[in-house]
Amino acid sequence: MLYSDAFRMSEHQTFLFPHRHLLGIEGLSRPDIETLLELADKAVEVSRQVEKKRATLRGRTQINLFFEPSTRTQSSFELAGKRLGADVMNMSVASSSVKKGETLIDTAMTLNAMRPDIIVVRHHAAGAVHLLARKVDCSVINAGDGAHEHPTQALLDALTIRRNKGRIEGLTVAICGDVLHSRVARSNIILLQALGARVRCVGPSTLLPEGIEQFGVETFTNMRKGLQDADIVMMLRLQRERMNGSFVPSVKEYFRFYGLDAEKLSWAKPDALVMHPGPMNRGVEIDSGVADGARSLIREQVEMGVAVRMAVLEALAQHLPNDGGHR
């Protein structure tokens, strides 16, 4: 028996995940998503043990290539890789070679020459991760590209919902706030609909993308109507530069009409749960009382983040060259 089999999270490799990269939720089938969620459930167990280390990625190199600063996503991927035994290197490119004029492709080719097995990429431009994936030989995970996709966030949100509600099928999920600029919203819309949830987008029209109804979501510009009968209220972060008159007039007005406080939460179902991808702007899109309250899943989302990333790494590891092989 190969040592790696003994240390996989799934005792027998019974799952099938037919993708070399994870570039987005789009393109994943419902079974693909369910496979990842089941692996992630197991990873939660692994992470809750004293001995958290597995050997799935032993001898593998994982590079976290972040063109945009990130604390939680980067550390979550780092921890996930380390728990599976990979050698993890973090590269914050925002402050290094890109400033010196190196292009995205140059950076990718340079890293590729170092023979990594997995590259986790975040970039401020939509589509940048896809471009990079076409140029390198290893597996690529999208950790967020512009306002396009953030697949591991959607997976961790789904895992959190499933573990708390027991299902996703048939739930009504209200995604509220700055949908226009949110990659989290796009990935969630695709994933939650694939698993049978009803998805709504709620926010001022200036923050709702044109034509989003064509994705099959319902849109609301009024929180009272948008939250009615919702099982899950998912708040999105409003970037500071969009608060003062460009997309919304002011923080005060935004909080008054769209910030989630106890009163607005009371418009949703009595057992509705609150989520936020973080980092939160307290007093802008969410009130502290709600963020820290009994119905908040926000901290649990962080824990599920590590588990989901372990699951994704394990699933992609299937497609890495075998031990002892050469590339």
Binding site: S205, T206, G245, P249, S250, E253
Partner: protein, 435 residues
């Protein structure tokens, strides 16, 4: 207090209700500040016991006027006009609801200023006053104001007053945002770059006077753009002032295609033309400028037809400091509240517009646009009423005007028809005194 007033019967009147086109002899019964009955059966002695009777002397009894565009100097320029003096001028002109523009100092761009204006108006004004709030912060055309909070505070429309929002992206976002609150956006359709140094209508007259002209395209370019953005966003859009035939065509086309956009016209552009500027009369320096006679006839026809929705006074008090200057250096603006109806009646007298149509554009339609209950003579509506002698000839004397400023474009003009009495919720706030 009005709850304790006895019932009031306005009888022996020509009742003109522009909302229903009713125009017949009869009366109006009022109780507790509200109209309770209207019709030919309401004659002297027909009211309940204790009714207080007002004999209208056969004159016109109509809903008070609603003016969507008045500049008041409060706060910040109280030497030109206060809410009190503006409201007195309004009452004397038969205007029972005034929408004041946000170009004050400080501008009406936050809820506290809306609240201030409403409180001052409550304490000092004798007619209804509703503030229009700024559409962009500091009227600078860059950042949206708190449309939702301003609306909750009592703002009835959003506009940068005499300034056009020139940045199309800003206007698009404002329209998109305002739609969520069903807020009315009013834009001044005049491109400041095309206006440039212009001070009057571009053409032979300006050339003769040696003044820089303002092309009609300064208006049509902005109007065309705004209409397209209104279509894109679905916002409630109102072009503050149109002044020329080309603009009328743009609005007509938009309306024919089903767009809900509306527009207004200044009483000045309906009743005066560029020739009236004569010998550099700065009281006729206006924005938009007075156009030529063909344009004037075009806007009158558009009003008669309903392409133009509302008539505004564009009341803009200016003192000698800003008006007793060479034409090219003087400020824009003219008084309008007090002469609004008399000037408008010129069009009725000339047979170009019917009286109900004129009053519709002066009361019913503007009230609808800002969502206030005036402009109708029917049961349940507030008894904001005017009694008008439409045949009363007089010569305008600026010294007798109620405004603090005296820049009337109709000074020494002969007008026919004037307001005899004005009532707010059944209470007399103005009575014409022949002295």
């Amino acid at each position: 207090m009005s709850a304790f007033l006895p019932p009031q019967l306005f009888h022996n009147a020509r009742i003109v209700d522009p909302a229903t086109e009713r125009d017949e002899r009869g009366g109006v019964l009022v109780r507790a500040g509200l109209i309770v009955d209207v019709g030919p059966h309401l004659m002297a002695g027909s009211g309940p016991d204790g009714t207080q009777e007002h004999d209208c002397g056969g004159h016109v009894l109509a809903p008070g006027l609603v003016d969507l565009r008045a500049f008041v100097g409060e706060p910040g320029a109280e030497h030109r006009e206060t809410l009190k003096t503006a409201s007195e001028a309004a009452a004397a002109g038969g205007v029972t609801t005034v929408v004041c523009m946000p170009e004050t100092n400080p501008p009406i761009d936050e809820p506290a200023i809306v609240d201030f204006v409403l409180r001052r108006a409550r304490d000092t004004a004798i007619v209804h006053v509703h503030p229009a709030a700024a559409l962009t912060k500091e009227l600078a055309g860059r950042e949206l104001t708190e449309i939702g909070l301003l609306q909750e505070a009592g703002a009835v429309a959003f506009t940068d007053g005499t300034r056009a929002v020139t940045n199309a992206q800003v206007l698009r976002r404002a329209m998109t945002y305002a739609r969520d609150f069903d807020a009315l956006i009013i834009n001044h359709v005049e491109d400041p770059d095309l206006v440039g140094d212009g001070v009057m209508n571009e053409g032979a007259r300006a050339s003769l006077l040696g003044l820089h002209g303002i092309p009609r395209e300064a208006e049509t370019v902005v109007l065309e753009r705004d209409i397209r953005l209104a279509r894109l966003t679905g916002a409630r859009y109102h072009a503050a002032l149109v002044s020329c035939a080309d603009s009328v065509e743009i609005v007509r086309r938009a309306k024919d295609s089903g767009l809900k956009a509306t527009c207004g016209v200044s009483i000045n552009n309906l009743t005066l033309n560029e020739i009236d500027i004569g010998d550099y009369r700065t009281f006729l320096r206006l924005s938009p400028p007075l156009r030529d006679e063909d344009d004037r006839q075009a806007v009158i026809a558009a009003l008669a037809e309903g392409v133009i929705d509302v008539i505004v006074s564009d009341h803009n008090p200016q003192d000698v400091e800003t008006k007793r200057l060479p034409f090219s250096e003087a400020a824009n603006g003219a008084l309008g509240l007090e002469t609004l109806l008399s000037a408008g009646l010129r069009l009725v007298e000339a047979g170009q517009v019917t009286l109900p149509r004129l009053l519709h554009a002066l009361s019913t339609r503007p009230a609808q646009l800002i969502g206030v209950p005036g402009g109708q003579l029917s049961a349940g509506k507030p008894a904001d009423l005017i009694i008008v002698d439409i045949d009363f000839p007089y010569v305008v004397d600026k010294l007798k005007l109620h405004s603090k400023s005296k820049n009337s474009p109709f000074d020494e003009a002969r007008l026919t028809g004037r307001v005899l009495k004005t009532f707010i919720a059944g209470r007399l706030v103005y009575a014409y005194d022949e002295q």
